[in-house]
Amino acid sequence: MWNWLHKLGSPKSFFAISERLLPWFGTLALLFLSVGIVWGLLFAPPDYQQGDTARIMFVHVPASILAQSSYMMMASAGVVFLVWRIKLAEIALQCAAPIGASLTFLALVTGSIWGKPMWGTWWVWDARLTSTLVLFFLFMGIIALRSAMENRASAGRATSLLAVVGLVNLPIIKFSVDWWNTLHQSSSFSLTQKPAMPIEMWFPLLLMVIGFYFFFFSVWMMRIRTEVLIRERRADWVKRLVLTMKNKRDMKHAV
């Protein structure tokens, strides 16, 4: 197990292993998301209070879950980098930030669009919304910090530290709906408790959440792979790969 993990930590092995995993993750993401979207839009029943706006949930909830999960994974990569100095962990951290930022943005905007017909306003400075906005700024902060620092080693340490410190925000987001009296409804989606919504809504939502996870892992892997190539561009294996790709492109043009 440790041996395997150690192998995965080397950029070259990661590149080889992810090449085999990526098509599977991509296909599964596409499958879960398409079934989930069709089910959510066409077959799930409208909510007895919210009507058809409840269909926004099939995008908003998975995006919000992934916004927080991706932060968690990014911060874990930060811990691994700070403790064991594994280069790949630092690459993983940098690559998770833009994806996490885009998913948090999606969660915020879809929530806002949902809020307009249901609450009568696009935005309130409510605990859940504000803490999610802070999450978005944390992701942006990590992107900005990375691009502001020339030295790769100190940028790695600084972004890892920021990611770890920002972890404090995650429980605040999660429990904001219980700690404060907020406009945002409390959580109604859970794997361990009896769902607070009809099973016809819960199941497509589950498919969407799984689909978003596969999607996140796919695009995360794609970004890490590119970054690995850029950093290892002086290595022989990358050189060979670039030449093979060039040959492949030429062959395609020749046909």
Binding site: L33, I37, L41, L42, F43, A44, P45, P46, G51, D52, T53, R55, I56, V59, H60, A63, P98, I99, S102, L103, F105, L106, V109, T110, I113, W114, K116, P117, F215, S218, V219, M222, R223, R225, T226, L229, I230, R233, V238, K239, V242, L243, M245, K246, R249
Partner: protein, 72 residues
């Protein structure tokens, strides 16, 4: 199926604008997340091939007469 006709489906009982805005936005965000790394990868292969060719040219020149150092 929850809708009787296509126009019912598009209108979503008057909430169509909100629901469709969310779904199209999601599609856009997901697509960008896929296209961006694909583009970066493609650009890397192209630019790096040029860099290797240039490097090879430089080292060939150097072998001959020691010139070409200025290209480094």
């Amino acid at each position: 199926m929850q809708f009787d006709s296509l126009s019912d489906f598009i209108q979503m009982n008057g909430h169509g604008v909100y629901v469709w805005a969310v779904y199209f936005l999601a599609l856009g965000v997901l697509l960008l997340n896929v296209l961006r790394p694909k583009m970066m990868m493609k650009r890397f292969y192209k630019e790096q091939y040029i860099a290797y060719t240039l490097q090879a040219a430089v080292s060939n020149e150097k072998l001959k007469d020691g010139s070409g150092d200025y290209l480094k």
